[in-house]
């Protein structure tokens, strides 16, 4: 049952999840996306350009963060618009992993357009890694 626009209130939390990312996950994303920039899998290259470690693809983070919204809205095809700013990289240690927390809340309800804006707070150790992360979804 898809959520109904009339039932939404600004500020309401609609989804919350934690996503774990490790090096294997980044290699998998590199293969699926075709983004083979070595800063996302080669520590030597990452450090040579001043990064603390291998970092996650920003586009992986963006993709992972919207999954809970697509699940909540009931059909990923209802995500009409999705934007983010990349504000802080996510270092991914080896051995180990990083845990990203995603909290999705209602930012705006537009009854005439039949859409809601869902705002995403995406954090690593309590610090935001994405800014202005907003998904516009179509609801009935």
């Amino acid at each position: 049952m898809a959520p109904q626009l009339a039932d939404l209130e600004v500020g309401q939390e609609v989804a919350r999840t934690q996503v774990v990312v490790d090096r294997a996950r980044l290699v998998r994303y590199a293969a699926a996306s075709g983004d083979f920039n070595p800063i996302h899998w080669n520590e030597r290259v990452a450090r040579s350009v001043g990064l603390p470690d291998v970092i996650a693809h920003g586009m992986w983070t963006m993709g992972a963060a919207v999954g809970p919204v697509a699940d909540w809205v009931g059909d990923p095809g209802r995500v009409l618009d999705y934007q983010v700013r990349f504000t802080r990289p996510i270092p991914v240690p080896d051995p180990g992993d990083a845990t990203v927390e995603v909290v999705a809340t209602v930012g705006l309800v537009d009854e005439s357009a039949g859409t809601a804006r869902i705002d995403l707070a995406v954090t690593l150790d309590g610090q935001r890694v994405l800014g202005k992360a907003q998904a516009v979804v179509r609801l009935s």
Binding site: V19, R25, A32, M62, G67, D75, P76
Partner: protein, 149 residues
Amino acid sequence: MPVDTGYAGREYAPNAVFEVGREHLRSFAAAVGAQHPAHTDTEAARALGHPDVIAPPTFAVVVAQRAEAQLFEDPAAGIDFSRVVHADERFTHHRPIHAGDRLVTVLHVDSIVERAGLAMITTRAEIAAEDGEAVATVVSTLAVRPEES
């Protein structure tokens, strides 16, 4: 070599067709942890009215980056990828991308501006079906650090 700001305003010819495959959508969905069955299960997608499995919302970046390569791999543009940081990204979906789509992309260089020593490059990939139907608009801004920083 600095970024050539003269590329701002450029529009490229439509690029080669991108064929969207089911297995590619499934592997992309698995990579980003997109768990909705409409990405992997044809019947689940059809039950929602889609012709086939559909792409996760950020899959369009894979299509867009093929077109963006026309700019970034052009030595005359002066963009050194080792000095590039992704600043922001936006997807506007005119309809979902689905398996079986044959997509053609027109790349626009919307702006190149110097800000605080960084070159900010904003590109817009207009993704359409072969018959011209608008599918997605992908706007991406990259920051290029100067060589001595």
